[in-house]
């Protein structure tokens, strides 16, 4: 009887005995992510499940990511198959209004410039000794687009998924802190004061809005077939929104599907943050490179805005170049706030929204182009 009691008591202590310092650190990191999501409001929809997933997976002997583990099932079937990020893309498409972009299509070029940080960071990562596909995964944080970063890293560098996702979502929420110093450093006060006037709201026909997602899907997917799942799902969601005939599907994509998938995706990302996998010097490097990628996106966007300013005889305020990243509509709001600091009568919001909508398409196109280039070079399979 005594030995049975002792054995039973030992069973209660097994978890404590097997708790290593790495797991303790990861439990604290999970708690930190929960704190940032709950108390600071940084992307709570993602950081709360990610933080909790990180806690669950670091409980000793719970084996959440083991062969039969509860999180392993969702990870294998939702993340490794890329289904989760693609379902989220349908929701994003259903929620996005491309009207500002359709009104002012030339601004879409700012959405291209706002992705250059991806490619510059790729070079930097290679210089730091990253493997080719690891460098691609860390560079894509510069898309400033969580689902794109998750899609690419889960496909080509799943061991980096946790770091890449946490970096992508954390920095997206920090855009109001990251962008303004760069915008100020690269522009003169005179440039920041340029008045672009109230954007003229141009009516766009319903047919154009319906045809737009179909044309984008066909055109961009033919040019960059590897990115067809990314482009196609965003545009499917947008077609459901604009067609006006599948309101139930649109509502489901915006709400139920996005909510359920966000919860499961967040938990799965957290589940990749096991101590042995996450507590490496490379993780810190991934986080630094992600920060550099988003900073470079902003810098190149603003510089491109300066070029457009010069080419148009000073009619474009270079600040709107910063909205060429994909953080929608946060980045456009940052531009509006910065513009008004230097000229209270300046309303840059609608112009910045056009650039920001361009950035949303730009991030997906940039990833699609990159995947197709990798395929063409034989780095990834066909």
């Amino acid at each position: 009887m005594e030995s049975a009691l002792a054995a039973g008591f030992q069973g209660l202590l097994l978890g404590v005995v097997n708790l290593g310092p790495g797991q303790v650190i990861m439990l604290l990191i999970g708690a930190l992510l929960l704190y940032l999501g709950i108390s600071k409001g940084y992307e709570p929809l993602l950081l709360v499940p990610i933080g909790f997933g990180a806690i669950l997976v670091n409980i000793p002997l719970a084996d959440m990511m083991g062969k039969e583990g509860f999180l392993r099932f969702f990870y294998d079937n939702g993340v490794l198959t890329e289904v989760f990020p693609l379902l989220i893309f349908i929701g994003i498409g259903a929620m996005t209004d491309f009207q500002p972009l359709l009104e002012n299509p030339k601004i879409i070029l700012l959405g291209a410039a706002g992705q250059f940080g991806i490619f510059l960071t790729l070079l930097l990562a290679l210089a730091l000794g990253f493997e080719k596909l690891d460098a691609v995964a860390v560079a894509v944080i510069g898309a400033c687009d969580g689902p794109t970063a998750i899609y690419v890293s889960s496909k080509f560098a799943p061991h980096m998924l946790g770091a890449v996702s946490v970096a992508a979502y954390s920095y997206m929420s920090l855009v109001p802190l990251i962008q303004p110093p760069i915008m100020r450093a690269l522009t003169t006060e005179k440039e920041r004061q340029i008045v672009m006037g109230v954007a003229k709201r141009e009516p766009i026909s319903k047919t154009t809005k319906i045809v737009f997602p179909v044309v984008v899907t066909i055109f961009a997917s033919i040019l960059a077939p590897k990115g067809a799942p990314l482009i196609g799902t965003v545009m499917l969601g947008n077609l459901m929104r604009e067609s006006g005939v599948v309101d139930r599907l649109k509502a489901a994509a915006e709400n139920e599907i996005t909510n359920i998938v966000t919860l499961l995706l967040g938990l799965c990302i957290g589940a990749t943050m096991e101590a042995g996998n996450f507590l490496r010097g490379e993780t810190l490097l991934d986080l630094c490179l992600g920060f550099i990628a988003i900073s470079l996106d902003t810098a190149v966007g603003v510089l491109f805005g300066k070029a457009m300013c010069a080419l148009t005889g000073g009619r474009i305020n270079p600040l709107i170049g910063a909205a060429g990243i994909s953080a929608f509509p946060m980045s456009a709001r940052v531009v509006q706030v910065e513009g008004q600091k230097y000229n209270k009568k300046n309303y840059l919001l609608m112009h910045a929204m056009s650039a920001n909508a361009g950035g949303q398409i730009g991030s997906v196109i940039a990833a699609a182009v990159m995947l197709s280039v990798l395929q063409g070079m034989g780095i990834i399979g066909g």
């Binding site: 879409i108 290679l126 080719k132 737009f212 182009v369 070079m377």
Partner: protein, 48 residues
């Protein structure tokens, strides 16, 4: 393929390709707006 050939190829074609695709997309949007123009708002008859 060595690291730098890989890096510069992806960077240059990636940046150029992204810019090119989005530029053509902007032309397609202009074309769509011409082919499917928005109906003009009808003038209010009471206002003469």
């Amino acid at each position: 393929m060595d690291t730098w050939t890989f890096g510069w190829t992806v960077a240059l074609i990636g940046m150029g390709g992204t810019m090119l695709v989005l530029w053509v997309l902007s032309l397609l949007i202009l074309l769509m707006k011409k082919v499917f123009p928005a109906p003009r708002p009808q003038a209010d008859p009471k206002k003469g």
